[in-house]
């Protein structure tokens, strides 16, 4: 089995994986980073969104081999120790999560939006989140959280 090596949350990680291994399975099963979730099998729900080289990617739709040599950030790598990232803090402050299952993907997706657009409108946030499903919140508080988080990030991080 081929070896893949990538920098995950700032640490170099390697593993021997089958060619067909998805990035999400590498993260969850090989590295034990279970914060990245799997909610579907058609690349629709977005619970698995991580950053690959700074861009949000559905890790269920990316082979581990495709991320060979890449910088990968998962939800576990976003906070600075116990200090939440501004987007995480905004989700907490605005009650942008309930069961928490879609949350890692939502937050990672939102950080990518904020990096591109420091002051997204409600409409822009709703359009951006097209690839992230939430069944709990009705999106209302997620939208508020993403806008506040983007502001708090001060135009990109």
């Amino acid at each position: 089995m081929p070896t893949v090596t990538m920098t995950v949350n700032g640490m170099e990680r390697s593993g021997n994986v089958e060619d067909r291994t998805l990035l999400v399975d590498f993260l969850r099963e090989h590295l034990g980073l279970t914060g990245t979730h799997v909610g579907c099998d058609t690349s629709q729900c977005g619970a698995c969104v991580v950053h690959v080289n700074g861009t949000s990617v559905k890790s269920c739709t990316c082979l581990a081999a495709q991320a060979d040599g890449a910088e990968v950030t998962t939800i576990e790598g976003l906070a600075n120790g116990t200090e939440l990232h501004p987007m995480q803090e905004a989700f907490r402050e605005h009650h942008g999560l309930q069961c928490g299952f879609c949350t890692p993907g939502m937050v990672m997706s939102a950080v990518d939006l904020a990096n591109r657009n420091p002051d997204p409108s409600e409409h822009e946030v709703r359009e951006w989140l097209e690839g992230n499903l939430c069944r709990c919140t009705g999106y209302h508080n997620i939208v508020e959280a993403v806008r506040a988080g983007a502001q708090a990030m001060g135009g990109g991080s």
Partner: protein, 785 residues
């Protein structure tokens, strides 16, 4: 009780969030046990077939495979039970066919469990499952209510002629018929309540383990009610005593009713772990979740309302046919009966109400509770009918509702319920004001100038939550009690652990319940932890559904805290050398009334565990448990207003404004309550406009993935305008009613009434859910001729 910084009434940030936001939640699929094997459930690809035989030899020989089990292997195991016995009009019990965990001889829906393949890895198990050779001898299928009741229809069960499970009724038919005889107006309606797939974003999963050292089974499972699973799985299916079966429902990623039932997979996994002596893990793929998670709704109804010349309701007659799917799931039979028919008084004084429900078996996924469970179906029918009556009688849609409101409480409805309290005028007025109902015609005209058809719709509704009391539900056929337990353990140094039999899968119990206890005991919010989801830690519980957690579970905790305070007073009296009757407790201090002599809860707790100077005859320790069996249902109520714009060229419906004015009883955490309302509203708008579970005639699920089944996405929804008017529930000390299902109950008829209001100028007078652009466009074309 007062709203301090973290007490009752404060929007405290949630305790749960730190772990969920940092990826440290612990959902079932995140858990791995040493030596664990992986199970793959092989499901029937066809809706109805005899099983001629199953050849597992090739699968058994595949790499990594440890075992393949079929229905034959599990033949001695009990049937998956259902929780509610319904009796038909003639007094006969419902037809209750067996539900083997793994199909025996016959499969009855596409998705029915046929075999489990256990291997070293997930992929090996799935690959080997492809090698299981099942001889399906296909039979004609019935995939809808219409097909099930047709002459000569295929029979799902031989013992259920005509595929009928029961033919139930509630209310006084004679009195209702008489009301129609003298009526000035009769308004009729036919409605379909579309079948939905619950779609919690976390797929179901389970890990079962058997420990030969203790003979104890442990099952991690994605459940809303772990003790209920222990009861059903242990006592009914596998014959395991409670002390040898531990059910853990850790963090659960949403339920919405679909994680109430005891599923076949839980029994299969647990039994298999016992056979192999190794932990076995199974995680449902989404594609299998669509065809194995219980579905919701699926009613066809016809109803008529009798009115006098002034628009006063005289009588209501409802006939409903409900689809139960292929087997009776845990709450399947009570959802279309005791959670549906008894809702038809709504907020109105209709003196005579009658509802009959005939429920059918079909070759489809079992149907069970889904957010609202019966109450959305009832509310949708009633509020569509009331709107239609207003139009046909030429009355104002608001006034026809207002003039029929119940205003005196307690109010005994003609369909069993007794409402304890409410103020329907107040929520109506609040909603009209907050939605600027009066200013709507100007907005309609402005939209028309842009080529859009704008409409506004309303629904005024009640719901019944916290199903109770146990003696009553027992007399109606429930096979369990519907109480709740709460335990409060004050530790020696004054921190507190709270144990609840409810389960939080998004509702924020760890926060809300801690607020109650912190407030009542005067203990720091941070010093209170709430424990749930483990049958080995919690005395007992019935779980979370029916918006019962705060009203029933919160009250149990409240009563346990009261017991703690009572015991604390005895200890304090001893320490303060006063009489117990003179001890008052407030803000964490026990004080001798009228003096400044006091001692803290912390000192009392320490004394309870280090009882050197202690009241004679009193047990050490400071921990109390309460079981609370409510006296009645609770009755949240409210008014929802939806405003839509329809593009007549495309049929696209845009929900531009949603206003809720709700009475959910005492609000502990307004932030969490608003979140619950938002989620319910989104679910309800999804049903009204987007979501539809469609079966082909042959029983194949046509909407079996997120590519085919339209889930509401952020851009499909507006922001929500939430308002409250509170009346307190009179029969629980918190005054709590419930909030989890309000949105999905109240908003669907408001949305459809708004769509019809928008399209009425084009000649459209009816609309079926979901009002997709295709359906709306077709309705416009037909109306325009």
């Amino acid at each position: 009780m007062s709203a301090n910084g973290s007490g009752i009434g404060a929007s405290v940030k949630r305790k749960e969030d730190q772990r969920f936001l940092t990826g440290r939640g612990r959902y079932t699929d995140d858990i791995n046990l040493p030596g664990q094997l992986y199970g793959y459930i092989l499901r029937s690809p066809v809706a109805h077939a005899n099983i001629g035989g199953i050849d597992t030899s090739a699968a058994m020989a595949a790499p990594g495979v440890h075992a393949v089990f079929t229905g034959k292997d599990m033949e001695g195991v009990g049937s998956i039970p259902t929780g509610w016995l319904i009796h038909s009009k003639d007094g006969s019990p419902m037809v209750e066919p067996p539900h083997p965990a793994l199909a025996i001889g016959k499969v009855r829906y596409a998705g029915d469990c046929v075999a489990i393949v256990v291997a070293e890895t997930k992929r090996q198990a799935k690959a080997a499952a492809n090698l299981v050779d099942v001889d399906y001898q296909e039979l004609p299928a019935v995939a809808s209510i219409e097909a099930a009741e047709a002459d000569g229809a295929a029979q799902v069960f031989d013992e259920a002629p005509g595929n009928v499970c029961y033919d139930w009724e509630v209310g006084d038919k004679g009195a209702t018929d008489a009301a129609f005889e003298g009526a000035a107006h009769v308004v009729s309606i036919d409605v379909v309540n579309n079948r939905l797939v619950p779609n919690a974003i976390e797929p179901r999963a389970a890990i079962a383990n058997f420990d030969p050292a203790t003979d104890e089974y442990t099952l991690y499972t994605t459940s809303q009610n772990p003790h209920l699973i222990r009861l059903l799985l242990g006592a009914f299916v596998l014959g395991l005593p409670e002390h040898k079966l531990r059910i853990i429902a850790p963090d659960v990623g949403g339920g919405f009713g679909s994680k109430i039932p005891h599923y076949a997979e839980e029994a299969i996994l647990t039994w298999t772990a016992g056979q192999l002596g190794r932990p076995v893990k199974w995680t449902c793929e989404r594609i299998d979740a669509f065809k194995s998670d219980t579905h919701g709704r699926d009613h066809i109804s016809t109803a008529k309302l009798a009115l006098d010349a002034d628009g006063k309701f005289l009588g209501l007659h409802v006939s409903t046919k409900a689809n139960l799917g292929a087997y009776l799931s845990t709450f399947a039979t009570c959802v279309p009966t005791y959670l549906y028919g008894i809702l038809f008084a709504g907020p109105y004084t209709t003196p005579a109400v009658y509802c009959e429900v005939k429920s059918f078996f079909t070759n489809t996924v079992p149907v069970d509770a889904l957010r609202g469970a019966g109450r959305p179906e009832a509310t949708y029918l009633l509020e569509r009918l009331v709107d239609k009556a207003a139009v046909e009688l030429g009355m104002d849609r608001v006034e026809i509702r207002r003039q029929n409101f119940i205003r005196e409480f307690p109010y005994q409805t003609p369909v069993a319920l007794q409402y304890d309290q409410g103020d329907y005028d107040a929520t109506l007025d609040l909603a009209l004001d907050a939605s600027d109902w009066a200013g709507f015609e100007a907005r309609r005209a402005e939209a028309a100038a842009r080529g859009k058809c704008r409409g506004i719709g309303i629904s005024t509704f009640i719901e019944a939550c916290g199903i109770a009391p146990s003696a009553v539900v027992g007399s109606l056929g429930a096979r369990a009690g519907l109480y709740e337990s709460g335990s409060v353990r004050v530790h020696p140094t004054g921190s507190v652990s709270v144990f609840t039999g409810t389960h939080s899968h998004g509702q924020g119990h760890e926060t809300t319940f801690a607020q109650i206890v912190s407030d009542m005991l005067g203990v720091d919010f941070a010093a209170v932890d709430v424990v749930h989801g483990d049958s080995a830690k919690i005395p007992f519980g019935m779980g979370t559904y029916g918006s019962r957690s705060l009203a029933v579970g919160g009250t149990a905790i409240y009563l346990a805290v009261e017991k703690v305070i009572e015991k604390g007073k005895k200890i304090a009296a001893h320490l303060l050398e006063a009489s117990v009757e003179d001890i008052e407790f407030e803000n964490g201090s026990f004080t001798v009334a009228g003096t400044d002599r006091s001692t803290s809860l912390g000192d009392v707790a320490l004394t309870a565990y280090v009882p050197h100077n202690y009241p004679e005859g009193l047990e050490p320790g400071l921990e109390e448990t309460a079981f609370y069996d409510p006296l009645n249902f609770t009755f949240p109520a409210g008014t929802h207003v939806a405003e839509v714009e329809v593009d007549p060229e495309t049929g696209e419906v845009d929900v531009v404004a949603v206003t809720g004015a709700d009475d959910v009883g005492r609000i502990i955490n307004p932030m969490i309550v608003a979140g619950q309302l938002h989620g319910g509203l989104a679910h309800g708008i999804g049903q009204a406009l987007l979501e539809d579970c469609i079966y082909q005639d042959d029983g194949q699920l046509a909407t079996g993935s997120y590519l085919d089944y339209t889930m509401p996405r952020a851009a499909d929804l507006p922001s929500f305008n939430i308002n409250h008017n509170t009346t307190l529930c009179t029969h629980n000390p918190l005054g709590a009613k419930g909030v989890g299902e309000v949105g999905s109950i109240g908003i669907p008829p408001a949305v459809i009434n708004a769509v019809i209001d928008a399209l009425r100028p084009l000649g459209v007078n009816d609309m079926t859910m979901p009002a997709t652009s295709q359906r709306v466009w077709q309705a416009i074309q037909q109306a325009q001729g």
